[in-house]
C-alpha cells in the first residue's frame, strides 16, 4: 500500500487555525496532525522524530507546517527545523503564521502589479505606508515591501514606540529598511499620506482607517491595498472585489487605484494552496517563508 501523505502542523498557540486545516486537506494531504503549544526549543526533536520513522521515499510524503501569530518566532522555528534534517532523511517545511505570510505576499504582489499596470511604476523608490503596521500581516507586508525597495513606514494607531520598535527589530532581523510612525487621528494620517505613493491597510477587520477626508489630502497616491473584508472597508472607496479600480475618494491623486480584500484574498488562497501542494510534489525538500511566498505570489498576479 502506498504511504499516505502526512502534514505535521506545529503551532506555538493553544490551537491550530481551522483555516489552515481546511487549506492543507484541500491541497491533498491525507492526514493532518496538530501539535499545539509547541516551543521553539522543541522544534529540533519534533523534526527529527518526524523524519526517522519513514524511508527517504516515504518522507517525500511528509511535511511540516508552522503556524502561530508571530513572524519572528515562525521564522525562528523554520530555521530550527533545517539543521535538524539528516539527509537523505529530510522533509519540506512551510511557515505561514496566521496566514500572515501568504496574505502579505498576496497584498504586496497585487499592489505591485497595479502600480506597474496603471502607473508604469515599481516598488523600488516608492514611498509606502502600512496602516495596522505592527500586527502580523502589517509587519510581513512592511518587510516584503521594504525588501522590494520601497521606502516603507510601519504606522501604529497608538504608540510611536511600538512602531519604531517593530521597524527596528524586523529591519535588523531581515535586512529591511523600515521606519515607524504613529497616527492617532485624521490630521496625523493626513500628514503621513501627503507624499505617499502606496498605502497598505492591514488593520483589524471592520475598522475604517482612511476615510474620504484623509484620502482627499493625498497628493501623489498611486495604489491603495486593503485586506479588511468585513464592512466597513479599511479604506473608503475601495470595493472588496476591486483589482486596480479607480479610487475616486483620492480626489487630488490623478489615476489612483484601489485593490480590495477579496481580490487580495483570491491570490492569497491560490498562493497558500500552491505552496502546500508544492510540499507534496517537490523532489528536493523546500523551506518556505514570506520571501518564497512573495516570489510565488508575483507569478500568480
Amino acid at each position: 500500500m502506498p504511504k499516505r501523505s502526512i502534514l505535521h502542523m506545529f503551532d506555538p498557540m493553544p490551537n491550530n487555525s481551522p483555516f489552515d486545516i481546511n487549506m492543507a486537506l484541500d491541497a491533498g494531504f491525507d492526514v493532518l496532525v496538530p501539535y499545539s503549544n509547541v516551543k521553539l526549543e522543541s522544534i529540533h526533536h519534533l523534526t527529527q522524530d518526524a523524519i526517522f520513522s519513514r524511508s527517504p521515499s516515504g518522507i517525500k510524503k511528509t511535511a511540516i507546517f508552522i503556524g502561530g501569530r508571530d513572524m519572528g518566532l515562525a521564522v525562528d522555528m523554520l530555521q530550527a527545523a533545517k539543521p535538524a534534517m539528516v539527509p537523505p532523511f529530510e522533509i519540506s517545511v512551510f511557515a505561514d503564521p496566521s496566514g500572515a505570510f501568504t496574505t502579505a505576499a498576496a497584498l504586496v504582489a497585487c499592489v505591485e502589479k497595479a502600480l506597474k499596470d496603471q502607473h508604469g511604476g515599481a516598488l523600488a523608490g516608492s514611498k509606502a505606508l502600512v496602516f495596522g503596521g505592527t500586527g502580523p500581516v502589517g509587519i510581513a507586508t512592511g518587510v516584503i515591501a521594504s525588501l522590494a525597495g520601497a521606502d516603507t513606514v510601519l504606522v501604529d494607531h497608538l504608540s510611536v514606540d511600538s512602531a519604531n520598535d517593530a521597524a527596528k527589530q524586523y529591519s535588523r532581523r531581515f535586512g529591511a529598511k523600515l521606519s515607524g510612525a504613529v497616527a492617532h487621528n485624521d490630521s496625523e494620517k493626513i500628514a503621513l499620506i501627503a507624499d505617499a505613493d502606496i498605502v497598505f491597510c492591514t488593520a483589524k477587520a471592520g475598522i475604517r482607517v482612511l476615510n474620504a477626508a484623509v484620502l482627499a489630502q493625498a497628493r501623489r497616491l498611486k495604489v491603495a491595498g486593503d485586506v479588511n473584508a468585513v464592512p466597513p472597508s479599511g479604506i473608503e472607496g475601495i470595493d472588496v472585489n476591486a483589482m486596480a479600480e479607480p479610487l475616486t475618494t483620492a480626489t487630488e491623486s490623478a489615476g489612483a487605484v484601489g485593490v480590495g480584500a477579496l481580490a487580495v484574498g483570491n491570490v492569497k488562497y491560490k498562493l497558500q494552496h500552491e505552496l502546500l501542494k508544492s510540499l507534496l510534489e517537490t523532489d528536493e525538500p523546500v523551506y518556505i517563508d514570506f520571501r518564497d511566498a512573495f516570489s510565488k505570489a508575483r507569478t500568480l498576479v
Partner: protein
C-alpha cells in the same frame, strides 16, 4: 475532485472524547481535527477562520462538533457559532457535550417506545421523576420529556441544587415553554406514589431506587437507568434489559438498562453526524434533533 469531509472538533476539556472521534470517522468524516481547551470566547474566531478557506460548496463538506462537559456552555457555544456565520459562508454545527444530548435522547426515546408497546400510551401528561437529575444527562432527559408533554420533577440530594437545575432547564433549554419542578431525594417515597416513569441518571454505582420503592409504586410503568456499573441505579435492573418486566413491580413496570439506551444513543449520534455530511444547507444540531433521530431509529427498527 470533491473536497474531503472535515470535522473541526472543539472541546473546553483538555482532550477530546475518543468515543466521539471514533463516531465521527465511522460516520464518514475523512478528517477529525481536535481543538482542545477552547474558551467559549474563542468560538467566534475559530468559526470564522474555518468558514473563509472554502467555497460555500466546499463548506457543505465542513462542520464543527462541540464537546465539553457542560450542557449550558455547549448550548451557548452552539449559539455563538451560529451567530458567527457569514452566509453563504456557513457550516453545520452539532453540540453533544459528554454525549449527554444523545444519551438523554436515547433514554427518552426508549421509554417512549415501551409506553407505546406495553401500555399503549405516550409521554403526554405522564409524571416523570428524574432521579440524580442534576447532571448533564438528567437535565437534558428532563427537558426532552417535558417538551414531549410529561410533567417532570428533577430529584437531587440537595433541594436547592435541584431547584436551580430545574430553572436552568426551563429558562435556558426550554425557552420558558416547559415547567420542570424540583424535589429532594429524601421525599422520593412520596413522589413515587404518582410516578409513571423513572429516569436514573446519577453517578455510577449508586442505587437511586430501591426494591421497596419499586414494590410500593402504584402506577410505575417504565424505569430507565443509564448506569452500566453495578450496583444498578434501579434495583433489579440489568444493563442489558430492554423492556423486560421490572423485578418486584406490582404495577407491571418494565425496565430499560444502560446498554439498551447506549445502542439508541449510538444510532442517534451517528445519524446526526451523517446528517451534517449529507445536508445541502448548514444545520445547527442539539438535543432536540438527537431526540428526533432517536425516534426515527426506533420507528425503523420496529
Amino acid at each position: 475532485m470533491e473536497k474531503p469531509f472535515i470535522l473541526h472538533m472543539l472541546t473546553t476539556a483538555k482532550n477530546l472524547s475518543p468515543f466521539d472521534v471514533n463516531m465521527a470517522m465511522d460516520a464518514g468524516w475523512i478528517s477529525a481535527v481536535p481543538y482542545i481547551n477552547v474558551e467559549p470566547s474563542e468560538v467566534r474566531g475559530l468559526v470564522q477562520d474555518a468558514i473563509f478557506s472554502r467555497s460555500p460548496k466546499g463548506l457543505l463538506r465542513t462542520a464543527i462538533f462541540i464537546g465539553g462537559r457542560e450542557t449550558k456552555q455547549a448550548m451557548d457555544m452552539l449559539k455563538t457559532a451560529k451567530n458567527s456565520m457569514v452566509p453563504p459562508f456557513e457550516v453545520s454545527v452539532f453540540a453533544d457535550p459528554s454525549g449527554a444530548f444523545t444519551t438523554a435522547a436515547g433514554m427518552v426515546a426508549a421509554v417512549e417506545r415501551e409506553l407505546a408497546d406495553k401500555f399503549d400510551t405516550t409521554l403526554q401528561g405522564k409524571t416523570v421523576l428524574a432521579l440524580g437529575g442534576t447532571g448533564p444527562v438528567g437535565q437534558v432527559a428532563a427537558v426532552i420529556a417535558a417538551q414531549a408533554g410529561a410533567h417532570v420533577r428533577i430529584i437531587g440530594r440537595q433541594l436547592d441544587k435541584a431547584q436551580r437545575t430545574a430553572e436552568l432547564c426551563n429558562d435556558e433549554f426550554g425557552d420558558g415553554k416547559i415547567d420542570i419542578s424540583a424535589g429532594a431525594d429524601a421525599d422520593k417515597a412520596e413522589y413515587m406514589k404518582t410516578a409513571d416513569i423513572v429516569f436514573a441518571t446519577g453517578a455510577a454505582g449508586i442505587e437511586l431506587l430501591s426494591a421497596e420503592l419499586i414494590a410500593a409504586a402504584p402506577q410505575l410503568k417504565v424505569a430507565a437507568d443509564v448506569n452500566a456499573v453495578p450496583p444498578a441505579g434501579i434495583a433489579g435492573l440489568d444493563a442489558f434489559d430492554n423492556g423486560k418486566p421490572l423485578e418486584g413491580s406490582n404495577s407491571g413496570a418494565v425496565g430499560i438498562g444502560a446498554l439498551a439506551i447506549g445502542n439508541i444513543k449510538y444510532q442517534a449520534q451517528s445519524r446526526l453526524l451523517k446528517r451534517m455530511l449529507e445536508s445541502d444547507k448548514a444545520l445547527f444540531l442539539h438535543f432536540e434533533h438527537a431526540f428526533e433521530v432517536a425516534r426515527e431509529f426506533i420507528k425503523t427498527a420496529n
